[in-house]
Symmetry: C2
Subunit: 157 residues, 2 copies
DNA sequence: CTTGAATATTTCAAGCTTGAAATAAAAGCG
DNA sequence: CGCTTTTATTTCAAGCTTGAAATATTCAAG
C-alpha cells in the first residue's frame, strides 16, 4: 500500500476518534444541562431552546421560523409551543394578512422564567467548560467554525 | 466593576458561545448521520450505537453493561435490543449462574450488517470533518480531552 | 432456612423527535 | 373568476429517551 493511502486512512481514523470525543463531550454536557433544568427548574432542554429563541425575538417568530431557527421539524415545535402555552409561558398570535400563519411569543411570565433559566444556564456551561482558558476557547471555537464550513454546505452564501 | 470581574464575565460569555458552536457542529453532524443511516440502510443512530458496542464485545454484554457503556438508561437498551432481536440482528443469552442477568450479542447477520454500516459511518465522519487537517484534529482532540477532565468529574480514578 | 437488602432487568407514562399525510389559506394563472 | 400550485401549520404513527415503579433473583445475616 502506498504512503499516501496509508496517510489518508490514518487521517480518517483520527477524524473518527475526534468525532467520538466531541460527541462524548457535548453529550455529557447536554445530559448535565437536562438534569439541572429538571432538578432546579422542573423543565426540559427543548422547552429552554424554544424559550431562548423567543427571548431573542421579542417581536415573535412564526412557527416555521422557529423550526428552521432551531433546526427541528415543524411538528416538533407545534408540540413544544403547545406545552409552553398550556403552562402560560408562551402564546400564539395571529398574523395580520395571512390567516395560515401564527407568531409565537413569550408571555411576561415566560420572559421572567426564561431570565432565571438563562442565568443558571450560563453558569452551568461556565462550569462545564471551566477547564478551558481564554486562548483554548478561542482555538477551539476557530477549529469548530472551520469544521462547520464544510459541514453546512453553504449557509451564508 | 473591577477588571478581574469583567474578565471572568467575558470568559463566561466566550464559553457560552463556544458551547453553542460545538453544539451546532455536533448536532449538524449527528443529523447527517441519522439521515444517512435512514436513507442508505433504513436504520437509526441508537440501533447503530448498540450494534457498535456489541461489535466491540464479541463475548456479549449484559444489559446493564450496555447501558452504562452507552450512557443511556436501562429501559432504553431494553427497547432497542428488543427491536434488534426482532430484526434478527441481535440475541439475548442467559448468564450461567445468575438467572436475573442476560448478555446481548450480535448474530452473524448482525455482524455482517454492522460491518457495512461501520464502513459507511467512517466515510460520513471523514467527510463531515474533512475540513480539518492532521494538526487541527490533534489540537481539537487535545482540547476536547482537557474540557472533559472537568466535565466527567472522575471517570478514571 | 428465612427474612430483608441489594442487584438485574423490564414495564410504564410522559415527553421529544421525525417524516409523511392532512388541512387550510394564499398566490399564480389562464 | 375558477383552478392548480405553493406555503404554513397541525396531526399522526413510530421510535427514542428518561425516571420511577414493578419483577425477579441473588446475597447476607441471623
Amino acid at each position: 500500500m502506498g504512503r499516501a493511502k496509508e496517510k489518508a486512512e490514518s487521517l480518517s481514523k483520527d477524524r473518527l476518534r475526534l468525532w467520538l470525543r466531541l460527541l462524548k463531550l457535548t453529550s455529557g454536557i447536554e445530559a448535565d444541562l437536562r438534569r439541572n433544568l429538571r432538578e432546579a427548574h422542573d423543565t426540559t432542554l427543548p422547552r429552554f431552546d424554544v424559550m431562548a429563541a423567543l427571548a431573542r425575538h421579542p417581536e415573535g417568530l412564526r412557527m416555521s421560523e422557529l423550526s428552521s431557527y432551531l433546526r427541528v421539524s415543524n411538528g416538533n415545535v407545534t408540540g413544544i409551543v403547545d406545552r409552553l402555552t398550556e403552562e402560560g409561558l408562551a402564546l400564539r398570535m395571529a398574523v395580520p394578512g395571512d390567516r395560515r400563519a401564527q407568531t409565537a411569543r413569550l408571555t411576561a411570565r415566560g420572559r421572567e422564567v426564561f431570565d432565571r433559566l438563562a442565568a443558571d444556564h450560563e453558569g452551568w456551561i461556565d462550569a462545564a467548560l471551566g477547564a478551558l482558558g481564554a486562548a483554548e476557547i478561542a482555538t477551539m471555537a476557530r477549529l469548530a467554525k472551520r469544521a462547520q464550513s464544510r459541514e453546512d454546505g453553504n449557509e451564508h452564501p
